[in-house]
């Protein structure tokens, strides 16, 4: 890990002013420190702005039917919160599905939302594979080993998959991401190559409206390993008489709305089948690589189980 300067900010203003093009926010540190220690980036940040030292960024409260979660709130606190487990249970389920107890007691909700992708080409040390995300011109998943960390929807220049568990229920529950500059609908925060935050923009709060009466919601995650693993496929649902949202994780570079499946409801089998409409699996390339077609089957199975739960 290269030498970095850590600035312990005492206020959001101080943190914002300290942030620039060659710096990054440090909160739980479970992702950014990994990125730095693994020498992933060709031009890594030389300054980390620690926001854990800013008072008042960790809280969970219900206010006028709105769930408000401080950006630096730990995932473990969200998973165990009686408030979250009440009306926003799918978010609690997603927080509980992250990593391991140790990671959940370090990682924060905002960090989980904007964490970097896990593509093994991107994460290859330094410039081993100069992919799009590093400023190159190629996504190595398309011609390389794409068994894992790859998308079957929405890939454009980059075909990796989103890895945030909490992003999916937040999208399904119409959450808003509050930053030092603006309010962003949860579904707009993440884009193919990362997120839309400016260099000196910090998430301060997550706001989740109270679901309509009678809303059923669930978060299901399927990973090869039951702990300390990222989703191959995850499903978050929020279904009520006024509408349905089915959001898939692990299958696209961003949380993916399965709109065809939503439209096929209440027929569960039809919705499961429709959940993979438009899927574009990556092919097998070379010995031992089987491609990611299996995600189509996994997606159908997980959507069906989520709808039957």
């Amino acid at each position: 890990m290269n030498k970095v300067t850590v600035i312990n900010a005492t206020s959001l203003d101080e943190a914002v002013s300290a942030l620039g093009s060659n710096s990054a926010v440090l909160a739980g540190g479970t992702d950014i420190l990994n990125v730095l220690k693994a020498f992933i980036l060709p031009d890594p940040p030389d300054t980390l702005v620690n926001i854990k030292t800013i008072p008042g960024l960790s809280y969970i409260e219900e206010n006028g039917g709105m769930l408000k979660i401080g950006a630096a709130t730990k995932l473990a606190d969200i998973a165990e919160s009686s408030v979250v487990n009440g009306k926003w249970s799918s978010l609690a389920q997603a927080a509980r599905a992250v990593g391991s107890p140790q990671l959940r007691h370090m990682g924060t909700i905002a960090g989980n939302l904007v964490q970097d992708c896990r593509c093994w080409y991107y994460r290859a040390e330094q410039m081993g594979f100069n992919c799009f995300r590093k400023g190159g011109t190629l996504c190595f998943l398309t011609a390389g080993n794409n068994d894992k960390h790859s998308a079957i929807f929405g890939g454009q220049v980059c075909f990796t998959n989103s890895v945030s568990d909490t992003a999916n229920p937040l999208v399904a529950l119409d959450a808003t991401i509050v930053t030092t500059k603006r309010n962003i609908p949860a579904g707009d925060l993440l884009v193919v190559l990362g997120n839309i935050l400016d260099d000196n923009e910090i998430i301060t709060e997550i706001q989740v409206p109270e679901p309509a009466a009678g809303t059923s919601q669930i978060f299901l995650k399927w990973a090869e390993r039951k702990a300390i693993d990222f989703a191959e496929v995850s499903v978050a649902t929020a279904i009520s008489s006024s509408g349905a949202k089915i959001v898939l994780g692990g299958v696209a570079p961003v949380p993916w709305r399965a709109t065809a499946a939503e439209a096929a409801l209440p027929d569960v089998d039809a919705a499961a089948t429709a959940s993979v409409d438009g899927a574009f699996p990556l092919p097998a390339n070379g010995t031992g690589n089987i491609g990611n077609r299996y995600k189509i089957q996994l997606t159908k199975a997980m959507v069906k189980r989520a709808l039957q739960a």
């Binding site: 010995t287 189509i296 199975a301």
Partner: protein, 389 residues
Amino acid sequence: MDFLDFQRKIFTPDYHIQESTQRPMSSPTSLRAALEKAAEEIDYENKVANNGTTLPDGRLYGIGIHGHYDRHGQTGTGRGVIIQPRRDGTFLVLLGCSYYHGTPIAVCHVIAEELGVDRKAVQIGDVSNPDTSLDGGSQAGSRAVCSNSTAAIMACRQIKDWAFPWVAEELGVPVENLDVGDGAIFDKTNPSNSITWADVGNNPDPWPFAAVGQSWGENLQIPISGPMGDFPVGARAFHREGVAGAYEVAVDPETGEVEVLSMVNVCDAGRVLDRFSAEGQINSGFWVQASMKGTHWNVFHDPGTGTLLSQTMLDDKMPTSMDLDETKNNPQLIETISHVGPYGAHGIGEPAATANSVAYITAVGNAIGKIIEERPIPPRRILQLLGKA
């Protein structure tokens, strides 16, 4: 003929099966014992007809069994031990295996037992390089304990052969009356009549540079340097061990996920010296093989450049306790008494890992109705075999 019968008749034909009292025990006898124990523990013969049936929750049931000889560590695992007696009554040991693990310590215990001294009087040489050892270094593990201990026992005999005549003369008793214990050589008919190993340092005879013991694994040329049990000098010996594993699994045909319903792992330990440790060996063997080789694809390469992609423990997945329920493992030990291992024991470290994966994959194959000729078989591969990916 089902798979169990196949293994009985092909691997362990009746004409190779000995009576349990016959020594040395043959490999097929050991393997047959392990197989039968595994079959009995998992109730294989009553359950095998259920292969491929659908469980009430929609998953597919499979049961598999496999046994084989573990000969891991045999080829080229000749062992040598050099013991240098010191005039202060301690002993310096150099042995033919890597010094970075517990094997040398175990061998020191054997030497201490053989020479009747405290363990602390037996010291490992600080030549921490296996290349300096008698056979150029060898594998580490329980097999090394077995072979090196045998060599150590032979070297200890040489030391006794050198020391006892002088001690017998000093004590005024026949050599046959002598034994060792409590750091001394004593007269068995009058134990208080003794000479300590430190006093042996006064022996005016030429001081031996070292005592050398050798033993060997199958296929190795180094001859045994002294008779051992039923094995004469130059006799062919081998560290055979029958191991068997049996699994019951439920395969989710929608996700390819496999749940192990029950499993049994049987190892012929020769003689069990420490049941807790021995079962621990089996459990760790099961963990390595059933998980990493059975379920998790732990090495990924870029097909174009050969670059290793699974460079971290995220992609080289060691299963967690949530993935493998160790409480479902049923480790079983059988004892057929080895005549080349110390106290009848022989190694069980790796054997537990070997039969396991085959039994696991056989069970999965029986559940989904496919012959599986590869490993590991992660869920995505099972979906592919089922035609769903």
